[in-house]
Amino acid sequence: MMKCKEYIFRLTSGQLENAGAMERFWATQHRLMCRSCRAFSANDERLSKALAAYRDHLQAPSDK
């Protein structure tokens, strides 16, 4: 069974995006059972959106 440390590493390293069906299955099972990892995963999704907005902010032209 996947532990929190392993699940979080696979999520944050990006490995889950390209993982095979079996690994994704175990990751999903872990997330369903672990409230803390569910919270971390949801926060990580918001982090991605926040970083995309930050990137756009960085690239915005200077005030005219």
């Binding site: 929190c4 440390k5 902010h57 690239q59 032209p61």
Partner: protein, 186 residues
């Protein structure tokens, strides 16, 4: 196309963006100068107004990765990335969240995440990352490079890449939790 106006509008944002990736200011300035020089040689009739930002930052991306490839590739040893192992703090010996450090759901409204104040906090957290994970992370997230290209440019193994990305995302979540979301670990 008013090139002077274009340079005025984009020089500072491009410099700020380049400095995220290139620690030496003169390298960041050189990269931006290269983009400005490319602007002079551009056939602007073929570029729509709405694509100007994408076009300029696309050139800048190449100028930055060129410098990373040739000037920064072997500057740092990736084996020394993790002198402080964040995982030893976050997790116990059984691989579960350490007592008092389990994350809690961020529940700030979405609109608060596009304010100047929030971006200032993101900026602070990004700039607090250790240099090596920061470089990998910023190439992936802000330059939008693929993992293979990042490994090739910086001379990393896939395992190094995963370690750097994981470290950066974990640390950023902790930092934002502490400085913005006011989250207290459970």
């Amino acid at each position: 196309m008013d090139l002077e106006q274009l340079a005025h509008d984009f020089r500072v944002p491009m410099l700020r963006f380049a400095q995220l990736h290139l620690p030496r200011r003169e390298d960041a300035e050189d990269a931006v100068q290269d983009v400005l020089a490319a602007m002079l040689a551009t056939d602007w009739k073929s570029i729509a107004d709405t694509s100007i930002k994408t076009y300029l930052f696309g050139i800048l991306r190449h100028k930055i990765t060129d410098r990373l490839r040739y000037k920064y590739r072997r500057e740092l040893s990736y084996s020394e990335v993790f002198e402080d192992d964040l995982d030893d703090t976050l997790f116990n010996a059984r691989g579960r969240w350490a007592d008092g450090l389990a994350p809690q759901h961020w529940d700030t409204p979405e609109e608060q995440l596009s304010t100047e104040q929030f971006f200032a906090v993101v900026d602070l957290c990004v700039n607090n990352l250790p240099p090596k994970p920061a470089r990998v992370f910023s190439m992936k997230t802000f330059l939008e490079c693929e993992a293979g290209e990042i490994c090739e440019v910086l001379g990393l193994t896939q395992a190094d890449y995963w370690q750097c990305m994981s470290r950066a995302r974990k640390q950023l979540q902790l930092c934002l939790n502490e400085r913005w979301f006011g989250g207290r670990p459970s």
